[in-house]
């Protein structure tokens, strides 16, 4: 368990950050609107926060004495960027020598990235999924990190193994690019086989040991007899001075232990669905190749990132409930040649077809832009409610955080935004950002 303990060591991100109230201090928020989750709202409601969690949400709560009271127009859950490279040391954001064992947490540099982390926090992003190596075909273990400081001042890593990141078709000709997809499928298959092999071994070895144990008991029982006959044979041998020969002993060979393979072990976790697999792919051919290839693995949890040309495959995505992390960035003429211009309308179009849509920045400093990108997506046909869901509930769910993040709900982690308007509007400004129950950013500066 390297991550939290270790990274909690890094120094506080911002000097001007207000001193946190002691963990016991309660925060009581009164708001005109509390967006519990997209589509579920409370008017003139209150939120009580304690010990890093939301203690209660209601319309008739009263402030306990000693609680710090905040008033605002709107409260909603902190935004989540499921697809970021924020906090990585600059070199590691664009690696190519990664494999499934490389870990994003090993490249997190809270010292170099303080400015960007702070900017993201101020923009309302309280948590993000981070993976290595911009275009590496296998990026390795992605982590889930918070933008605000850990209680002891460092980066707050909620999950050091949140997902596996991969890329398909980042380079090469059409055939190479499909090749990436096929290779990915091979890896997963290998992982699956490896798991099977291990299970078989454990059965065999258990069986072998019991059999041997039984025969051992028998041998012990027959030992005296055996000893007698041996002594007898020795004597006989001496008499007709022949050389005494031990009778040979045979038993079933012990089953061979399968050679340990760290990479296959990790791929096995992907195959059995304990780790989601986030694959960046853009072109139709590669996307369909990937979807076809992974059909067989029914426990695999696939997430598509980018997905520029994924629209025609919407049906499949819906059927297999595969979410798409859309990157609604105005690419302009920098868009890769031969890709259709979906960059801004894609989110809306997918959502229309009931595909689970997430929004990601795919960048280091870009993370702070996520709310802007969401607004642009709305400006191109995504329903505001779906946009908010993409930034909160859906993102949390896709990265195994659904049970503690993304909602303003009792028991959930208190990552909250206090706003003076609609969360998705770009003219709204954020009054306070609460992370793990502490005021991590306050527009008024002080407490």
């Amino acid at each position: 368990m390297l991550a939290p303990a270790l990274l909690a060591w890094a120094p506080t991100i911002s000097a001007q950050e207000p001193a946190d109230p002691p963990a016991e201090t309660q925060i009581f928020i009164k708001a005109e609107r509390v967006i519990v989750q997209p589509g579920k709202e409370l008017k003139d409601a209150q939120v009580l926060v304690q010990g890093g969690k939301v203690l209660a949400v209601g319309t008739d709560l009263v402030a306990p004495d000693g609680a710090k009271v905040l008033e605002t127009k709107v409260v909603c859950a902190g935004f989540i960027d499921p697809w970021s490279t924020l906090g990585l040391d600059s070199a590691s954001a664009s690696l190519r020598d990664t494999n499934i064992l490389t870990r994003a947490v090993d490249a997190l540099n809270p010292f170099g990235s303080a400015v960007h982390l702070q900017a993201a926090l101020r923009a309302g992003i309280t948590g993000y999924g981070v993976a290595l190596g911009g275009k590496a075909s296998v990026k390795g273990l992605g982590a889930f990190v918070c933008t605000a400081n850990h209680a002891d001042g460092g980066l707050d890593v909620l999950l050091k193994d949140s997902f596996i990141g991969a890329t398909v078709g980042s380079s090469g000709d059409a055939f190479d690019r499909i090749g990436y997809a096929e290779r990915l499928v091979k890896y997963i298959k290998a992982g699956e086989d490896y798991r099977v092999e291990q299970v078989e071994y454990t059965h065999e070895i258990a069986k072998w040991r019991t059999e041997i144990a039984e025969s051992e008991v028998k041998l012990e029982k027959d030992f005296k007899k055996a000893k007698k006959s041996r002594d007898k044979e020795i004597k006989e041998a001496e008499e007709d001075n022949k050389k005494f020969k031990e009778e040979s002993y045979r038993e079933d060979r012990q089953p061979r232990k399968p050679r340990f393979d760290a990479e296959k072990e990790a791929w096995a976790r992907v195959a059995e669905g304990t780790l989601p697999l986030v694959v960046e792919a853009h072109r139709y051919v590669e996307l369909s190749a990937l979807l076809d290839g992974t059909k067989a693995f029914d426990r695999l949890r696939l997430v598509i990132a980018g997905g520029t040309e994924v629209l025609p495959l919407a049906a499949t995505l819906v059927k297999r409930s595969i979410p798409v992390i859309v990157w609604p960035t105005p690419l302009g003429s920098k868009r890769p040649a031969g890709m259709r211009a979906h960059d801004l309308s894609l989110a809306g179009a997918l959502a229309e077809k009931d595909v689970r849509v997430l929004l990601g920045s795919g960048g280091t400093s870009g993370t702070r832009d996520l709310p802007l990108l969401a607004a642009l997506a709305v400006g191109h046909g995504l329903e505001p409610e779906k946009a908010l869901a993409a930034l909160t509930t859906e993102a949390a769910r896709a990265l195994d955080m659904g049970s503690i993040l993304g909602k303003v709900r009792a028991g959930y982690r208190a990552d909250l935004l206090l706003l003076d308007g609609d969360p998705i509007s770009t003219t709204t400004s954020i009054r306070q950002v609460i992370s793990a129950g502490k005021i991590a950013f306050n527009v008024e500066g002080g407490q």
Partner: protein, 469 residues
């Protein structure tokens, strides 16, 4: 009275040893002895026999054995030979391309005729810990040498003295990959040992069953191995495996985990330090870890203090200047004072024999506000401690190696010169015969020299520049 009797005794010893060793007994008389162990001694005498100091004291109290070679320098100051706590110079090449290569040994790379040792000697450094360079993951075993002798054997003070582990990625590697390889190295070691134990046990069981079947009496061979020790993790039952039967390639790794060999850990950035300490803790070698810190690592000094490593070596950059992204002002951090204030004892490192030699580093520390005693310790007793040789070198005390430097004045003054250097009692350096120094200081071209000075590579360069970005 007491003292004189002792000296009689030593004299007697000297007589016998003189007979045996042909008079290996020296008395060095100087105006002042800075022992770095207690108050300086005016008009002091240092007695050295068979390479070791047998007595130190004021002339009035020390009786010189009749057979001792007396070296009188009433105007000079004796100072302990300085100790270079970790260097990668003086080897034919500093790095091997293999990532994990603890089976290598710098003994095969140390180059006795390298200019570097001459330079170090000239600067008054008499003990050097030579470790592989930083472009590695787990390096070969290093050694401690003295800058004199024509063969590595002659130079050797301690063989097998530590292993370099680099947390800072080796050239062309990323942090994530570097750390993956490092973790995998130890995880691999553990798996291998576990398998060995398993095999050994299975082997024994089979032998026993065979004996039962054949009706023989069976006494299980108890493993000639040694049980595993260590504070990180332990593989039970390793005693069943004779150490000799373990692949010699991984034995040094086992030595690390069992805490039997020092680790010199190269960390150029604070994040490296955090990862490094974690890995050291996981694998139980924190206590014999020495950190080689880049200029930015002051940012985690609290964690370093808390971790309780064996030692800290500062890079030759003593003042760190950086401009935070989007900031208008530089932030300047004075490293030695910072660590001194945090109560973390540190050793200094030198880059070259002139503007960045150890004594000059110490002088700069004083200039930057470090207590004079602390600064002097950081180039003598401090580094001796760090390399685990404090009982042998670093101060002028009875029982230690006869390593001293005779200076023309205060050790930290610009005008002071290194006049003579004694290593294990032998006069090893004499400024009056140092033609290359005359060349450097006075522009006198020594006959038959190609006057092309060695280029001493600056191993801390990238860190220094890293800070300023």
């Amino acid at each position: 009275m007491n003292i004189s009797s002792i000296t009689h005794l030593t004299a007697a010893l000297a007589l016998t040893s003189a007979a045996a060793l042909g008079g290996d007994s020296h008395a060095i008389k100087v105006g002042k002895v800075i022992t770095m162990a207690g108050e300086p001694i005016e008009n002091g005498i240092v007695l050295i026999e068979s390479g070791r100091i047998t007595a130190v004291g004021p002339a009035s109290e020390i009786q010189i054995p009749w057979d001792a070679e007396v070296f009188a320098a009433p105007n000079l100051v004796a100072f302990p030979g300085q100790v270079e706590a970790c260097t990668s110079q003086g080897m034919d090449r500093a790095n091997e391309s293999i990532d994990v290569a603890p089976f290598l040994n710098v003994v095969d790379s140390v180059d006795p005729v390298n200019f570097f040792y001459e330079e170090m000697l000239r600067a008054g450094i008499t003990t050097l810990n030579v470790q592989q360079g930083n472009s590695t993951v787990i390096a070969g075993r290093g050694m401690i040498v003295k800058p004199s002798g024509m063969t590595v054997a002659a130079m050797t003070v301690r063989p097998e003295a530590g292993i370099k582990i680099a947390i800072t990625p080796k050239r062309g590697k990323s942090r994530a990959v570097q750390l993956m390889i490092l973790r995998e190295a130890f995880a691999g070691l553990r798996r291998t040992l576990e398998d060995l134990v398993q095999e050994a046990n299975d082997g024994n069981d089979h032998a026993r069953r065979e004996a039962l079947a054949q009706g023989r009496d069976f006494e299980a061979e108890d493993g000639k191995g040694r049980a595993m020790t260590g504070s990180g993790w332990i593989v039970e039952g390793l005693e069943a495996v004779p150490r000799a039967s373990i692949d010699s390639k991984i034995l040094p790794l086992l030595a690390i985990v069992e805490g039997r060999i020092s680790v010199y850990m190269a960390c150029s950035t604070p994040m490296d330090v955090l990862h490094g300490l974690e890995i050291a803790k996981e694998n139980g070698f924190l206590a014999q870890t020495v950190l080689l810190l880049g200029p930015t690592c002051w940012k985690v000094s609290d964690e370093i203090k808390a971790a309780g490593v064996r030692g800290v070596i500062l890079s030759s950059t003593l003042e760190h200047t950086e401009r935070a992204p989007f900031a208008e002002e530089d932030t300047v951090t004075v490293l030695p004072t910072h660590f001194a204030e945090k109560g973390i004892p540190f050793a200094l490192a030198s880059q070259n024999s002139t503007t960045q030699s150890l004594w000059f580093q110490a002088a700069r520390c004083v200039a930057l506000g470090v207590d004079r005693e602390v600064a002097l310790a950081a180039i003598t007793s401090g580094p001796a401690e760090v390399i685990g040789l404090s009982s042998e070198v670093g101060t002028i005390e009875k029982g230690k190696h006869g390593n001293l430097v005779l200076l023309s004045g205060d050790p930290l003054s610009l005008q002071t010169q290194v006049r003579y250097v004694f290593i294990e009692g032998k006069l090893t350096y004499d400024r009056t015969t140092d033609t290359r120094l005359q060349h450097l200081m006075d522009g006198v071209q020594p006959e038959g020299t190609s006057a092309d000075e060695p280029v001493v590579e600056d191993i801390h360069e990238e860190e220094r520049t890293a800070g300023d970005k």
